[in-house]
Every structure is written in C-alpha cells, then in structure tokens.
C-alpha cells in the first residue's frame, strides 16, 4: 500500500504544475523574519496528497528583505513572479514598510497577476497592521484598491489578506495559516481562522486585531489547489470580508 502510494506520488510529481511562494521581510525586527519563515517553511519540494490530486506542487522560492522595487518597478521579477506572496512588517492603510523610513504605497503598485504584462500573483498576504481597511474603518475601503491614477493591484490577483486593525507578531499566526492553507482550505478563510485562534482581548484592546480580505468575487472559494480563472484586467468588482 505504502509502495503504491509512493509510486502514485512519483508519477504525479512528474506531471506537476509548479507553483511558487515568496516571502518578503521588513528589515528591522527579527520577529518579522520569523513570521515569514514560519509560513514559507511549510512548503517544500515534496508532493503531498492534495498536490498529487490537484496537480499543483507548491514550494518556497523567494525569501528577501524588502526593497520597494520588489513591489513596484521590478514586481514581475519578485512578488509578481510568484503565485503566493507573504509579507510581514509594519503597515498602515494601503501601505507596507520596507525598513524604517521607507514604505510602499500600494496604490502606486502596478497591476498584480496580469499575465499579459508578466505578472503571475494569485494571493498576497500582509501580516502587518491595518493594510486592508474595512467599512468600519473607512467607508470608501475600495478607493485605493480601485483605479488610482489608472493603477490598481487587482488585475488578475485573486485575493489579498491582512488585518483591518493593528496586528500582533511574535506568535503562531503564520505557522497555523500555512498548515491550514496546506490542507486545502480556501485562502482567506484559512487566514481568518489562523488570526482568530491567536487573539486575546486585554485592557480594551484586541491583540492581534481583526482579519480582513479583499478579493475578486469569483475567486472567493479559491484554495491553493483549486482556483478559478484570474480576474479580467478591467474587472470592476471587488468584495471584502472582515471581522468585528
């Protein structure tokens, strides 16, 4: 039985569609290094049964300290060359830090996932504070995911996950998220579960904060093994889920 399973996995691996995971770390505090590593280290070159069944083999690929060009001018060689990007660092609404004093304003980023322009990204996760505001935080939550000066990141990108409030590092969110994603949970739902299980309420504060995810609606059931077609580059439809 074991030999049979081994053979099946071997045959399956020869016909695999390889998918890449990239990790991007704010250069400052070591907890961000751990956060990203705890996620990407869940994925190696081996083939698990879900990968064998789906034909998609996920493994970690890039692992860099942040530079703005990774998200902007050279995105097609960095985050957008991957299928799944995981960032951890300091954030604020629509903005992610690279290192002290340097950040990327995401509305300045080109479209992610736009295959005609060399983009490939399907999923991006921001383990950082407040990058994805929700209606309780900002009524026009869509404004900066939408066409801003002709740019918006959802041009093939399926889902963006993060926090709508402060986050909290140095815990197991990224480990658990990696494990849940790996057993085939839809990506944003795995993120919400991972964040929920680490949360505590103390002195009127919520640690870590509340999860949030923006997506192109036809992609909302996507797991890393089974996902629907990319959003069209001129899609005018976004959906947000949030906790409160």
């Amino acid at each position: 039985m074991v030999i049979l399973l081994f053979l099946v996995l071997q045959v399956a691996s020869s016909a695999m569609d390889y998918r890449q995971i990239g990790g991007y770390v704010y250069e400052g505090e070591h907890r961000f290094v751990d956060n990203v590593w705890n996620f990407i280290s869940q994925f190696d070159d081996g083939v698990n049964p879900w990968e064998a069944a789906s034909g998609k083999n996920w493994s970690r690929d890039q692992y860099y300290y942040c530079e703005d060009f990774q998200f902007l001018s050279a995105h097609q060689y960095r985050v957008d060359a991957e299928d799944f990007a995981y960032y951890s660092g300091h954030g604020s609404p629509y903005s992610i830090g690279m290192r002290p004093g340097e950040s990327v304003w995401l509305p300045d980023a080109p479209g992610y996932g736009d295959l005609p322009n060399g983009g490939d990204l399907e999923f991006i996760v921001f383990q950082s504070c407040a990058v994805i505001p929700a209606p309780p935080d900002r009524a026009d939550w869509w404004s900066n995911w939408w066409e801003s000066g002709g740019k918006h990141i959802f041009q093939g990108l399926h889902q963006a996950c993060g926090y709508r409030t402060n986050s909290w590092s140095g815990n197991s969110v990224s480990t658990l998220f990696g494990q849940y994603v790996k057993i085939g949970q839809p990506v944003w739902q795995a993120w919400f579960h991972a964040v929920q299980t680490q949360r505590c309420w103390h002195g009127g504060g919520v640690y870590p904060g509340y999860a949030c995810a923006v997506m192109y609606p036809p992609n909302e059931n996507d797991s890393i093994y089974y996902y629907s077609a990319d959003s069209p580059m001129d899609a005018h439809w976004l959906r947000i889920y949030w906790e409160e």
Binding site: N48, H90, W141, W168, Q179, W237
Partner: protein, 396 residues
Amino acid sequence: MKHRIFQISLLAITALLILGLAPRWGSAQGGGGPEVKWAADIKIPSAQDLGVQKLIAKPLAQKDFVALSNKIVNRVESNANLRKAVNLKVTKSFTNRLAWVDNVDPSNFITQDSNSGDLLFQNQLRRYVGMAKVQVPTQQEAMNKTMKFLEDVNLLPLDFKTNAKLVHAGGLFGQDFQDGVAGEKSQKLVILNYGRELNGIAVQGPGSKLIAQLGDQGQIVSIERKWNSIAPTLGGSVKMYIPTPEPPAKGQLGSAPGTSQLPGTAKEIERRGGILERRTIDTGMLKLRTEYLTDSEVKNQINKDILSDWNTANFVEVNSIDLVYYDRAGNFIQPAYAVALTIHWGEDTLNFLYHVAALRNPPESIYEVVQSTNPLIQQSALPLTSAQLERAGAFD
C-alpha cells in the same frame, strides 16, 4: 621599528577606547536604542499566588479521529457532501496533522494537530460566501446552540462549564463594490470567542480558546478547539509541579534550598521520578514562592525586550503590566505578565501587547520557538539591491 610599534599600539588603544565609549545600539543605558518611558503609576502585581498547571494534550489516534469525524458529520445539519466525504481516507502527513477534507468543497473539513490535539471543524462555509442575506442567531441563541453541539459530539472540554468565559461575540461581515456602487453590508456569521479564566484571572496566549462560528438560524459553521484539559480536573486531586534540586555534581556543593531549576518538560519530570506528585490543594495551582521574578527582574526583562524588538522606534511607552496566566497551546498554563506598550516612530504609533513569564525558569518558553535555522540570515547574497538587479538584466 619602535616608532611603528608605538604607532600601531596607539591606534589600537584609540580604537579600543572609541569602541568602549561608543553608545551601544539597543543599550538599556540610553544609547542608540529607543527611550523607554514607564507610566508613572505603573505597578508590577505579585504573581506569588499563581502556579503552574500541567495540561494534558489528547490527540486522537487515527481511528478515533475518524469516529469523531463521523459523529460530527452525523450531527451537523444537512451536509450531504460532508457525509459522503466520511468515506474519504484520512491523511496524516507533512504537518503532523490529521486532516479530513471534502474534495468537492474544501470548506468542509475536520483537522487535528497530532501533537497538541487542537481541533478545527468546519461545515458549509461556502454557503455563506457571497452577499445573500443570512438570518444570524442572537448571541444567546448562538451560545445555547454551541453548548448543545459540543455536548452532543463530546467535544466539551472538561473544565469548560467552570472556567470558560465568553470573551467576545462578534461576526463575519461582507460588502461588494461593483461598477462604482457599494452594496449593502451583510452579516454572514456570528463568532463566539470563549477564553479560560482560572480563579478570576484570564488565561491568554494561543491556547485555552474555543471559537464557534454560527450561520443561518444558528447552524454550526465551525468549531475551533484549542483547549487541553487541566490535569486531571480542577477542584480534585491535581498533579503538582514540584521543583527538586538537581543532585550536586561530584565534588560540588548542592544548591541552596528553593533555588532549584524547574525541569524542562513533564517527561523529564517523570523520568527523574518522584517529582511529579499527586496532591490535593485548594487552588489547583502550585505555589513556588522562590521561583518568581523580582520586580526589578521583570523591569529589566521588559527593557531588554524593547531594545531588542523595537530598536527602530523613537521611544516606547510602558503603559501597564497585568498579571495573567499564559497558555501557548503547549503543555502548561503558567503565570505571566501582560505588558501593554505604545511604540512611537515619528508620528506613527502602535499599541502592542506581549507577555513575560513570571517564573524565573518557566516550564516552557512563552513564545513559539522557530525550529529551523533561518536561511535569510545565512544567505549573504540576499537581498538583491536595485543595482544588482540591473546588472542581472532584470530591468531589460
């Protein structure tokens, strides 16, 4: 030649002096690290009445996991896919996790961490994606349904009725934005967050949690159980954590009474024999008066943590230090300090909470230990700079 030796010596002495006098980055003495501002009225509460409680992780064997899965599936409402999927084989591989996932709809699944026993069950979440209206239950209805479900499938933790507290009742919400128009906000689920409280003190950390999500008319959509049993039960005979001095090495003096190190794991305690004892005490907790950090040690630890973790900040305020229990979803509940900070970078601020173990030698570390050597640190070629990318032709 002598002149040259003198010159080199002078250079070396000067360098040593500069190095010795230069403020060190992250120095608690106010060098290059952030200034730490302590709230004037801050007090460090005594942890002397709090002890360590051993937890029992009860991961299920594969056949028991299948039985539990069947039981859950037979209990949940009208989920043909989930029922059908019972016949799928359970997979135990890679992440030390038993997982049972519906191939047709992966939002139907049951999974358990094979080490900790943590369990997550989810049913028909796919039904709630999209913006269709949902008749969510009231908080009380949701609580009643959750309790009944936990009892029906034997997932109610042993001390849940005595020690669980509803910490937060919230929800999952959604909204669309299409062709320039925002749709209505829609509540999809009610989310109940239960936490553990021992003798009126909150247990924080990733363990001691039970989270229930309920949907249309109170349908159980998910149960996440990270709640290991206290050994064996509260209020009865409890296993106590008794420190005993390490036997002195040959030719060395033994350590003074009360200064012994706590052994690292329950297994070690048992291996060494006679250390894990069974006694009855009122609180269910062990008191180890000599093993707690002093006030100055707590402050020193917080200063050290701030300088290590927030070294890019301009200044850090320590707002409060509260006594809590901590469960890292491991083998123990232990006393800890919840430290609330506000970190300042220019005009940016961040409120942050973290925990410091109250015991000098805690039975397990508070935070998850990264198990692998981090390759980022080892790969000197990383990160690529813009110039390197240009040389590599990345901008062609």
